[in-house]
């Protein structure tokens, strides 16, 4: 009995502690979020809320409330960001994967550049420039800022998706009488579509969560979910902030599960190649 104890249970103790810590790090804040979302009255030194209820949910989902407006804004901006990103990423990804472009890796890195500098510094200047063009505080301005951030993923994943398409299949289509354009739309694009869907979802999520760029370019006219969340937290309204976070969490988790099905290993292996 003691032998079994020593050989089976003892080695598991450090692992159990480690797993427990991980679980706490991930689920602790989430639990706090859930508590705050349903707390009506909660103040120090009480460990749990004093009164529970749906009052704040009603406030958030009020038809003409700020929250619904910003949710709408977020989704509309995310959809347009996806459209603009794909319109650039599909031709760019195809060209990077199939043509022998000079400076290929430099081009790929160029898409990464906006991420390499401190975003606050970048977006203050972007905001200043956009102001000059009348783009500050407009949907178009915010969509452009989101697109710059989304493009890195869109272009890199699209390039990988096109690289993973077997060239022999394209040659076979050409050989069977399809023109270059037709080959692209009947063979290459359908085969790369799962990877492109995945990149669209990434861009959608990035746009949904984007804060810094929206803050500098969109305020005060374009308020998205993350901005609402920020405002609510700054005002100490943790209930509204928590409910907003939960709303932002739903598409993220949902799409992540979705992406796992779309992005196959052979595509992932070609990212950045």
């Amino acid at each position: 009995m003691s032998g079994l104890w020593r050989s089976v249970v003892v080695p598991w103790i450090p692992r159990a502690i480690l797993l427990g810590l991980f679980a706490f790090a991930i689920f602790g804040p989430l639990a706090n979020l859930l508590l705050w979302a349903f707390a009506e009255v909660w103040y120090f030194p009480h460990k749990l809320p004093l009164e529970w209820g749906f009052d704040f949910w009603r406030q958030v989902f009020k038809p003409r409330g700020n929250a619904m407006l910003s949710l709408n804004n977020s989704i509309i901006i995310a959809i347009f960001t996806v459209i603009v990103s794909l319109a650039i990423a599909i031709p760019a990804g195809y060209a990077l994967a199939r043509r022998n472009l000079p400076w290929r890796s430099l081009i790929l890195i160029a898409f990464l550049l906006p991420q390499a500098f401190p975003s606050v510094a970048v977006y203050i200047n972007v905001a200043r420039i956009f102001y000059g063009f009348g783009l500050a505080g407009t949907y178009v301005g915010v969509v452009l800022v989101h697109t710059v951030q989304g493009l890195v993923f869109a272009v890199w994943i699209a390039t990988a998706a096109f690289s993973a398409v077997d060239r022999e299949l394209e040659e076979a289509a050409r050989n069977l009488g399809a023109s270059g354009l037709r080959t692209f739309f009947t063979i290459t694009l359908p085969l790369a579509l799962p990877g492109i869907m995945a990149s669209a979802i990434f861009v959608f999520l990035i746009s949904l969560d984007e804060f810094t760029g929206t803050f500098f370019v969109g305020v005060p006219d374009v308020v998205t979910m993350p901005l609402l969340l920020f405002n609510a937290s700054m005002e100490g309204n943790y209930q509204i902030a928590s409910i907003t976070s939960l709303l932002l969490l739903v598409p993220s988790v949902g799409f992540m599960l979705f992406i796992e099905r779309f992005l196959k290993a052979d595509v992932l292996a070609k990212v950045g190649n």
Partner: protein, 354 residues
């Protein structure tokens, strides 16, 4: 026709004419330029110099999708997101043929390659041999002037490969289309083709019917590459018309015929096919053979109809591959027994080296 890549000559001054409706094979080791040649015919590569004529017209300016040439790719290149019928009908739809006509022609083509009614199957659901036939049907349904086949049997297992060889030949006969088949497998080329070109290092070594390549090889490469041979190196000791006597390094003497002009003192390679060597227990049946030797059996490599004997000549110590005659007479031969063997000088080919 010539094709160079940077500083590498892949296809070097190849010139050939293929009669319409025939089965033509290009046989060569990997890297000999045969795939490059095929891709130039299909239009995926442009020749550096030279011309390609199909039915008398140059196709150099014709893009691959406009050439009346279809190709069965090495890995078949069936479209995985389409079913069998959609694959076969792809080219017809590109031509803008009405839907009903496409369906009819596709079903007709599938029936002709022995796959009636499998149009709705997914590509992942059918076997290797069936995929092969779908790939061929996808090309033949377009009624091409030339069908190119790029080692399409390579991925199949041995039994299926044997079966598909016969099948392909039958299909070619039925459709009366010109087939250009490239392979590194000599038995595929010999069995199926009307004519075979043996290719080496970007050049054609010899072009001719299978029998000619096998019985009258013109170069050392062809003699070595097509079929099996016993090989000696030696020096020409005597010449009488085109019959030569060669002294080998082991001081044996072999009588044969020269494949080209040669003179006394030339270094030569001598080739004798294992099935050209006759066996005898006492030497009595070898009386009129130009080359006769006594020896003993080193080992019996039994493989049914393709069984071989390895015998060692007593005088020179040469080890010689001999096809075991399946007449029943030698079924009890065992290692260590002594035998006599011989072959005629007409069956002995001598090639001058260099």
């Amino acid at each position: 026709m010539r094709k160079t890549f940077a500083d590498f000559v892949a296809v070097d001054d190849v010139d050939l004419a293929i009669p319409s409706g025939s089965f033509f094979s290009i046989l060569g080791p990997s890297g000999c330029g045969k795939t490059t040649l095929l891709r130039m015919i299909a239009g995926f590569l442009q020749p550096t110099s030279g011309d390609i004529l199909i039915k008398g017209r140059s196709v150099l300016d014709v893009p691959p999708n406009k050439r009346a040439v279809n190709m069965v790719f090495q890995h078949l290149a069936l479209f995985p997101m389409m079913n069998v019928a959609e694959n076969v009908g792809y080219g017809l739809r590109r031509r803008g043929m009405p839907r009903e006509d496409v369906a009819k022609k596709v079903e007709d083509a599938l029936a002709r390659v022995g796959l009636p009614g499998s149009g709705t199957k997914r590509i992942s659901q059918i076997s290797g041999g069936q995929k092969q036939r779908v790939a061929i049907a996808r090309c033949l349904v377009l009624d091409p002037d030339v069908l190119l086949l790029d080692e399409p049997l390579g991925a199949l297992d041995l039994k299926l490969r044997e079966h598909m060889k016969v099948e392909l030949k039958k299909l070619q006969h039925e459709f009366e289309t010109t087939f250009i088949y490239i392979t590194h497998d000599q038995s595929e080329a010999l069995v199926m083709s009307d004519r075979v070109a043996v290719m080496n290092a970007g050049r054609f070594e010899q072009v001719g019917p299978a029998q000619e390549l096998y019985y009258q090889p013109k170069t050392i490469f062809v003699a070595e590459f097509v079929g099996d041979s016993n090989k000696w190196r030696g020096r020409v000791a005597a010449i009488e018309q085109n019959r030569v006597t060669v002294t080998t390094a082991q001081s044996g003497r072999i009588c044969g015929v020269a494949a080209g002009p040669c003179s006394i003192g030339d270094d030569v390679e001598v080739f004798v096919r294992p099935e050209a060597v006759a066996l005898s227990r006492d030497g009595s049946t070898l009386q009129n053979m130009a080359n006769q030797m006594d020896g003993e059996v080193v080992s019996v490599l039994f493989n049914g109809a393709a069984s071989r004997l390895l015998v060692r000549a007593r005088e020179t110590g040469d080890e010689i591959d001999v096809a075991l005659p399946q007449t029943g007479e030698f079924n009890d031969l065992q290692a260590g027994q002594s035998v006599s063997f011989g072959w005629s000088d007409a069956q002995t080919k001598c090639f001058v080296i260099g």
